[in-house]
């Protein structure tokens, strides 16, 4: 996969998120189901069922006369209502799809309870009446007998028959109360009719007591089936079955929820197993990667070591090459220096040569042979010297002649001395150039206080022969330039070069005056006080194409030039912290070279010391 390293994280993060959310979902699903509510409901249903059963049992206890108060049939009502309300709340809490059927069942149950309550109310009413009448029947029968005894009639037979009839009816009624049958009821009914007829012949008190007795027997006959029917109805009310239905429905829901949860648990397990597998896979991958990394690492270390050796080897070779280069460069440098020195020495030798030539010419034209001629004449005339000096025509001229020779020789000597001085100066300059080259090799500059005007004169004089030959008019302007601290020989070298160049530039010019202007002035620039020396000529000028290349090594426009002069000037100027610039309006317009140097004014006391 050629993905960006950062983009590589996107699918991994996405995958991690998906896995985490699946895990969270399954976890919530397995936790979300709360079975305690189910057991709560089951407990509630049990409670309701138990209450219902107790209620029913209490009805029978009341029927049997074991319970003598109906409080036990009333007390469950509140509890039943409360528990039913709880059931309703539980139904409301059920999931929507379970709620409908459960609501239907609980409503049916509630209706059944209401029906049961209604039946029990009726039961209480009827049971009370039945019990009373049954309890009273023997007393009522006794009352009939007592009233018969208290109110004797004519014949004993009807009274005895009545008594027997009452007894039989009492017995039948009591039996009927235990085992109510239709036949028994009709028998009793028949007996009652007979008794009423028989009692009709009895006195009033007996009839009254008979009426009471009969009324209660009738009540028993009426209430007994009613109570039994009510009991059957009460037992038939399907409260318990509704509760069972509710229970099974809830249990079904519980089973479903349980199996669903089991499913989720299984899913969770499978998912966890999957995750574990993934983890194992990742671990194996990791171990493998680790081995690979380890191996690659070893290889890298090995490669590194060999590389280091190679680097050392290369370094050594490089060092050798470098030292060779240095040696070559030194030779080249030495050659350059030699060229430089030779060039400068050549310049000066020019002037020395001129002086030597001059001396030689002078000596050739010397008046000394004339003196020798005069001396020979004197020697020839030594015998008559006085005669000769006074009489001879030539002798007479001797004093004047000697005087003239003396004057000539004197002048000659003066000129020679002067020329020899120039010669000596030139030799000194050569010596200085050589010394300077030696000192340059040691990168030392000899700085001394210099008069710029003197420098310009020296430079001009070194080119004096050229100046004279080319009929150049030289003008100078170096007023108000103070004594400055400079390396005299460097600047002299530059000036000699520049003047030589300017003079040469004017060789080819024939149509106008040859003028060389030397200007020196102190000015303050941005870089502090500067000394500017301009060498201006009216020569052939410089084309604008050549201007930028002027100071490069080996550039020249002359057939005999070697392109070294201006280059060495620029180097020298740079050595002094200055620069050389050339301006020209073009071919035939002349040129101006400007030497721009930092001006270090020589302190006045130092000047006084010189």
């Amino acid at each position: 996969m050629n993905l960006h390293p950062r983009l590589k994280w996107v699918p991994i993060t996405f995958l991690a998120l998906v896995l985490a959310s699946i895990l969270g979902f399954l976890y919530i699903k397995t936790r979300g189901y709360d079975s305690s509510r189910y057991y709560e409901t089951v407990a509630l249903l049990r409670q309701l069922k138990q209450l219902d059963a107790h209620w029913e049992l209490d009805v029978f206890r009341s029927r049997m006369g074991i319970d003598t108060s109906y409080d036990s049939l009333v007390d469950p009502l509140d509890s039943l209502t409360q528990l039913w309300q709880q059931l309703q709340r539980i139904v409301a809490d059920q999931p929507a799809n379970d709620r409908g059927p459960l609501l239907r069942i609980s409503d049916a149950y509630h209706r059944a309870v209401e029906e049961k309550t209604r039946l029990i109310e009726h039961f209480k009413s009827h049971n009370a009446v039945l019990h009373n009448s049954l309890a009273f029947l023997p007393t009522a029968a006794d009352d009939v007998e007592k009233s018969i005894i208290r109110n004797p009639t004519g014949g004993n037979l009807p009274a005895a028959s009545l008594k027997v009839g009452v007894r039989r009816t009492l017995l039948n009624s009591l039996i009927y109360s235990q085992v109510p049958t239709e036949d028994q009821a009709s028998d009793i009914q028949r007996d009652l009719t007979e008794l009423s007829r028989e009692a009709g012949e009895m006195p009033q008190p007996v009839r009254d007591s008979m009426d009471i007795f009969c009324a209660h027997v009738q009540t028993v006959l009426r209430e007994q089936p009613a109570v039994n029917a009510l009991l059957n109805s009460i037992a038939a009310v399907p409260t318990a079955s509704h509760l069972d239905e509710f229970d099974s429905r809830i249990a079904e829901g519980q089973r479903d929820a349980d199996s669903l949860m089991q499913k989720y648990r299984r899913d969770l397990l499978i998912f966890a197993a999957g995750l574990a597998g993934l983890l194992l896979y990742a671990a194996i991958k990791l171990i493998r990667s680790h081995a690979i990394i380890q191996r690659v690492n070893h290889e890298l270390v090995a490669a590194n070591e060999s590389l280091e050796q190679r680097v050392q080897e290369r370094t050594r070779q490089l060092r050798e090459t470098q030292s060779e280069l240095v040696a070559t460069a030194r030779q080249a440098g030495m050659a350059e220096i030699a060229t430089n020195v030779l060039h400068n020495v050549g310049n000066v030798l020019n002037s020395v040569n001129v002086s030597a030539n001059l001396i030689s010419t002078r000596m050739r034209e010397s008046k000394i042979p004339r003196l020798a001629d005069a001396a020979r004449l004197i020697t020839d005339h030594s015998h008559d010297l006085a005669q000769f000096l006074t009489r001879d025509e030539r002798g007479k001229n001797f004093p004047g002649y000697f005087d003239m020779i003396a004057t000539a020789l004197n002048a000659e000597r003066t000129a020679l001395v002067e020329e020899i001085q120039h010669l000596t100066k030139g030799v000194d300059h050569i010596r200085d150039i050589v010394a300077m080259q030696q000192s340059l090799a040691g990168a030392a500059c000899l700085v001394e206080p210099v008069q710029v005007g003197d420098l310009l004169e020296d430079a001009l004089r070194m080119n004096a022969a050229s100046v004279a030959r080319r009929q150049v008019t030289v003008s100078r302007d170096c007023s108000d330039v103070p004594t400055v601290l400079l390396d005299k020989h460097l600047i002299l070298q530059i000036l000699v070069n520049l003047i030589a160049n300017a003079l040469q530039a004017m060789d080819s010019v024939v149509d106008r005056a040859h003028e060389l202007t030397l200007k020196a002035q102190a000015r303050s620039g941005e870089e502090g006080p500067r000394l500017c020396i301009e060498v201006e000529d009216t020569g052939e000028g410089i084309s604008s194409d050549n201007l930028p290349r002027l100071f490069t090594h080996g550039f020249t426009t002359r057939m005999s030039g070697h392109g070294f002069g201006l280059h060495s000037c620029a180097l020298a100027a740079r050595a002094m912290g200055g620069r050389i610039a050339a301006q020209s309006l073009g071919i035939g317009q002349g040129a101006t070279f400007t030497l721009d140097l930092p001006l270090n004014a020589a302190p006045a006391p130092a000047l006084a010391n010189l």
């Binding site: 003598t68 109906y70 009413s125 009370a128 019990h131 009540t219």
Partner: protein
């Protein structure tokens, strides 16, 4: 004779135990003594008591609950019918509010399952109080004292439900314990006289006990008025209220069926029956014998029964 002393000791213990039991153990009778006071929120009870005596619950501010359930008349009304807020006579004789909490239903025909429902029905009854709840709530809310008390007693403040509950809470405290008969039932055999004991025996023998049983001596079942004879035919002037429970269930079998009233404090609550037709206890017992038991009682038995009924009067302790 090794165990002689031990047996003697056991017999002595048994004798003491038995005598103690026979002296104070509660009797197992169809009638039960009143329970200890129901545990009610005192703040709500105080509030209910104020409301019970407050005529502002009626439409025109003329009648309160206490107007008909009179403290000086055993919690019932002295008149045959009570007089509603507009001067109209109510349908039935006002039953007592005392021990009403122990009745399984409220009203003569049992149309209310709870005291709260009973309060609700009376306040809105066009004859009795004639109010609408919105007015009642407004009037009660306007009273600063009520406002504060309701805030303290109920988080939801003044609502129809809280007014009903406050009054019902108060009524649940209106039990009359410590009647002489209850003391007898709890084991104090000297609490009632011999005649009264005999009256109780007759009460049971004649079958009164069949309906008037349980803790409230009635109040836990319905019964047809005139089981053994047509009471209403004899009395005449049939009213709608005479239909009794039929008005609630519309079942023909429930015609003339009424809630069996409690006999506690019966000596204080004349006149008797839903129609207030019996002015005295004597007359009421006569009607019961004739139409409910279908028999004639000996005068001395009736007198004893009436004496027994007088022992059912308990202490209200000035609660009403």
């Amino acid at each position: 004779m090794k165990y002689g002393p031990l047996i003697a000791l056991l017999s002595l213990y048994g004798f003491l135990g038995l005598s103690r039991w026979s002296a104070a153990a509660p009797l197992n009778e169809p009638i039960k003594p009143l329970p200890a006071l129901a545990n009610q929120d005192p703040a709500r009870v105080v509030l209910g008591r104020q409301l019970f005596h407050d005529p502002r619950l009626s439409a025109n501010g003329r009648v309160s609950c206490a107007s008909c359930h009179r403290a000086d008349h055993g919690g019932a009304d002295a008149g045959v019918r009570s007089v509603g807020f507009a001067g109209q006579a109510t349908g039935v004789n006002a039953p007592t509010v005392l021990n009403a909490a122990l009745n399984f239903r409220q009203f003569w025909n049992g149309r209310a399952d709870t005291l709260e429902q009973q309060v609700n029905m009376v306040i809105q009854n066009p004859v009795e109080m004639g109010s609408v709840w919105a007015d009642v709530v407004r009037k009660v809310s306007q009273d600063e004292n009520y406002g504060r008390a309701f805030k303290a007693a109920y988080p939801e403040g003044v609502t129809p439900g809280t007014i009903q509950n406050a009054i019902a809470s108060y009524e649940r405290t209106l039990l009359t314990p410590n009647s002489r008969f209850d003391r007898y039932l709890r084991g104090d055999s000297n609490a009632i006289s011999t005649t009264e004991k005999a009256g109780y025996l007759k009460f049971k023998q004649y079958g009164c006990i069949a309906c008037h049983q349980g803790v409230n001596v009635g109040g836990n079942m319905f019964q047809k008025f005139g089981v053994m004879g047509d009471y209403f035919a004899s009395r005449g002037e049939s009213t709608e209220a005479d239909l009794g429970r039929y008005l609630v269930t519309r079942e023909p079998a429930d015609e003339h069926v009424f809630k069996v009233p409690s006999l506690r404090n019966v000596a204080l609550t004349a006149p008797y029956f839903h129609d207030g037709s019996a002015k005295t206890l004597d007359a009421a017992v006569d009607v019961m014998f004739r139409y409910q038991l279908g028999r004639v009682a000996a005068p001395e038995d009736k007198a004893a029964i009436i004496q027994f009924l007088n022992t059912l009067t308990g202490d209200l302790e000035g609660k009403l």
